[in-house]
């Protein structure tokens, strides 16, 4: 019932970029500062780029910077980008995944938890997260 290391790395990465909103930072620089394996971060940045959370520049003096203001990026956005929907059980994400969901008395609890977790994750953005 955990987020993955990949997601934790993605969050750290956005945290770093939020401190330097206009700088174009290279993957290597972020990796070193936030202690993320460099080639793994490169793949994570690709996902964040496709999700339009960061904007990337190729070539010499390339790198990445945030594509939005820190306050417009929530923790939930980053988690959704890296690992998809937040659900504590398959049935909270896809009703059809379990054929018992209609009669199951536990099903609604997973929905309730999902909503509670998403609400917390939406409340935090990378502006109010800065110390």
């Amino acid at each position: 019932m955990r987020i993955t290391r990949e997601t934790d790395y993605a969050i750290r990465c956005i945290l770093y970029l939020s401190e330097l909103p206009d700088k174009v930072a290279m993957a290597g620089e972020i990796a070193e500062a936030m202690k993320i394996p460099k080639s793994f971060l490169a793949k994570i940045l690709q996902k964040l780029t496709r999700a339009k959370i960061v904007h990337s520049f190729r070539g010499v003096k390339g790198g990445v910077r945030l594509a939005k203001k820190p306050e417009d990026i929530s923790l939930l956005d980053v988690i959704n980008t890296i690992e998809g929907d937040v659900g504590m059980n398959i049935c909270a994400v896809n009703e059809k995944a379990c054929d018992q969901s209609k009669e199951c008395s536990v099903h609604h609890i997973w929905i309730e938890i999902r909503e509670a977790v998403e609400n917390i994750l939406k409340r935090y953005n990378f502006e109010n997260l800065r110390k």
Copy 2:
């Protein structure tokens, strides 16, 4: 960020036993009723037995029944038994797991979520879960 099938099976199993509080049910019977692979359920029942959530009887006419009243078994109890602490990130379970937890501005959010999830999971016991 999901509970495992094993945990879902354990919950279904307690759900079944809660409907028959005094009956000594065999693993095979529970497995069939709740659509749980039988030999997997056998292992799950061992964990539930060690945790004193169910009481088991060996030999002919053996089986398991709840060791407590349904209202004294929470969803959290079952989850803790099968997969340990509920934490959305390692640092919410073990501070030492990440050396950045002191300076990390996200750390406290995982603690907040952990507490929110645990509170929901504590509210539901197998008495108030029965339809």
